[in-house]
Assembly symmetry: C2
Homo-oligomer: 430 residues x 2
């Protein structure tokens, strides 16, 4: 008998198939026994019917505990009342293992308990739905860039120098030297963009920040495109197109999972390009009108981001930030040299920053001067300066955080649920 | 005028377009000037013609140095004699930057020099070809697994415990604890496989090995699938199908790049499933016949792998290894408990191990015993043991190293050329 996955069950109507999975739930009703089976790709209601109380299958049914592993053989039947529209009429049940008493039951558990049992919590329907969407989100991002001819160029995790100081970096011994875990592939992207035209990297990044908020992970995934000859406006358009594309894909392909999460998709359906674009100065004025206490020149924090996102009901792009709150490599605005050509894109519904990026300095002297101003060790940046000596061109790019984006798409309260094994402040188990 | 990339040039025959790129080479011949331009997606010959010596475009041409950045506008013409079949008749040349004297010239450079200039070396045609194939290889791998319904489940890089001892691990402070950089996502894959049925992780892995060979990188990328209910034979088939699929894809899509690398593709065309399968005992006998000094029970090293791969002219699968040379989680053979159900797949042409994997222990008591025998800290593995308490099932998987596979596909001597920024013993710049 053919082993099939539950997500493909509609292709096997009225056929005999084998399903391998785990008991999600079971119940009896007179002469019928129901097993709700999960196999990781879906759930299916499976039924046994017998007029005789001592039917051998019923004895096996009685043994089953939550999460016991089983192999079911039976016939696929259309059943309008069943979720998914199909059920399995069981002909044979093979028990692989009777599970010990499962720690996660339908009753409420505290978050610390669930986090300690993350390896099991992943099996529950809601966690499963979030991570199924994650899989599709990452595929959508790759499809977007691959479809536009971007070259995936993996950037190193172990790096000799730091983008923005060493206080939030994980450090390790690298034979006779020190190395740091990468917080961004951007500097390396700039080198590969000059070699391949348009590139992206997509990997884990690390911030050893002592912040314990619902928006921070210590280890998170980020996609970072970089395009030679692209300017600030080009990179904003690229980011908008990306966000519109991924939202469209999730709405199309992950309806079922969004329903499981009870996500009202109305705000997502409103995500259309172009997004409203405001400058930092505009944002500052809006914040003042809303009563914010932020001073001009401050980096907008989480409360300010929430205030701004409440004004617009789609994502919004903020540009032209004061030089002092952005990284050394940001291209100054030629009319307002106190501002840089950076962009942050905030999600709607108060989910904060999804994208950070902008145009990079392409002038050698200006970059040398900025490295000095930031007291960065020049020799560590020699290769980075080389990019400004040998055919330098204006270029731009951005980073989009996967878990932040997924939190917003799923409207999840805490980012810890958006990655299989979250790394949080002091938390590294399992 | 429309900015187009060179790889798309065939779509713009007889049209005026703009190309943005860098001077790869230039030469004069009477009234014609030739610029070979690269834009990261390809090379195109561009020509200027004028009867007048003092044509303004010619003065600009004279200024150009290798790797100067330029914007060309002109008409795309079919030209059988030009590589790629098209050339650009230049109407306008805009100089973005005249490059300083470029350090990498057509003359031979030593490897240490090229490695110090890796950020520029990437621009040369051969390096570009290798990494264009890398991009396609990674896409092919993802397409293979996504197409078969595998869920991408990213596993953590920062881990509290070690798979196989701590001597080859990078260590870092994780707030009040120690953490190690992951060498494999497998243990976590086993948890996600029980939650999602069939999964893969695909990320960077780290080995702090003091080995300086042409097959070792300190930081390398690995794809690792894991399937619940799959046994050794299933995982060998999956690995064979994967290898056949990716080789087929590269042969189909990356002809031009393989030609640039002067890769004789005959050995790759022979890659068909099933591969020859031999046991460790068979391999030992074959090695003895070939005069190898390996003792029974030793782990076959690089010379042994080369000997074996010379016997077969396709990849070969070796199975059923002595328990002592494999990891603690490997399922023993029920007829020969001194052997485990592991598999290594060796590439052809002496390229050594591409795949390592096998069936994992699913019995709780046996796994507990093995953890004791290996002196592993039981509490670090508590969650891993849980997978054997709650619906344990036989399961299998493997890891395939991206850079090893790419070395073989490109027939490259040293693995350092298969990743944009290689990390080698003592080498972490740029």
């Amino acid at each position: 008998m053919k082993w099939v996955y539950i997500e493909d069950i509609a292709n096997y109507k009225d056929q005999d198939v084998e399903i391998r999975g785990w008991v999600y739930n079971k119940r009896s009703s007179g002469k019928i026994r129901f097993i709700l089976v999960r196999d990781g790709t879906g759930l299916i209601q499976s039924t046994m019917y017998s007029a005789e109380k001592d039917h051998p299958l019923f004895f096996k049914f009685d043994e089953l505990t939550q999460e016991s592993s089983i192999i079911l053989r039976g016939t696929v039947r259309e059943e309008k009342r069943a979720s998914g529209g199909f059920e399995l009429n069981i002909k044979d049940l093979e028990i692989v293992q009777i599970a010990e008493e499962y720690p996660i039951t339908p009753k409420e558990h505290g978050i610390p308990f669930l986090m300690e049992h993350r390896h099991l919590w992943l099996r529950s329907q809601k966690q499963n739905a979030v991570l199924q969407i994650r899989t599709e989100l990452i595929k959508a991002i790759r499809d977007f860039f691959d479809g536009r001819g971007f070259r995936l160029m993996d950037t190193p995790i172990l790096t000799p120098s730091a983008c923005e100081g060493t206080t939030t970096l994980f450090e390790t011994e690298y034979f006779d030297q020190k190395a740091y875990l990468s917080q961004s592939g951007q500097l390396y992207n700039e080198a590969t963009a000059m070699a391949f035209g348009k590139v992206y990297c997509f990997g884990p990044t690390f911030r050893a920040e002592k912040s314990k908020t619902r928006k921070h992970l210590i280890e998170f995934w980020m996609v970072e495109p970089e395009v030679a000859f692209a300017r600030l406006d080009d990179t904003i358009e690229l980011a908008e197109d990306l966000i519109v594309f991924i939202i469209g894909r999730i709405l199309e392909k992950k309806k079922k999972e969004l329903e499981i999460l009870e996500r009202d998709t109305t705000p997502l359906e409103k995500v259309k390009a172009p997004f409203p674009r405001i400058t930092y100065d505009d944002a500052y004025k809006l914040l003042k009108e809303k009563g914010s206490k932020m001073e001009y020149g401050d980096d907008p924090g989480s409360p300010e981001e929430t205030l701004i996102s409440e004004i617009f009901d789609t994502p919004v792009a903020i540009t032209h930030f004061p030089k002092a709150i952005k990284a050394f490599y940001m291209q100054p605005d030629k009319d307002r040299p106190d501002l840089v050509l950076g962009v942050d894109i905030l999600a709607s519904e108060g989910y904060g920053e999804l994208v950070g990026g902008g145009q990079r300095i392409h002038d050698l002297e200006l970059l040398e001067q900025r490295i000095k101003e930031f007291n960065l060790p020049r020799d560590a940046y020699e290769w980075y300066l080389d990019l400004r000596k040998y055919g330098s061109v204006p270029h731009s790019g951005f980073g989009l955080g996967i878990e932040r984006t997924l939190s917003w798409i799923c409207k999840i309260k805490h980012i810890r649920e958006t990655i299989p094994f979250p790394r949080l402040l002091y938390k590294i188990y399992p």
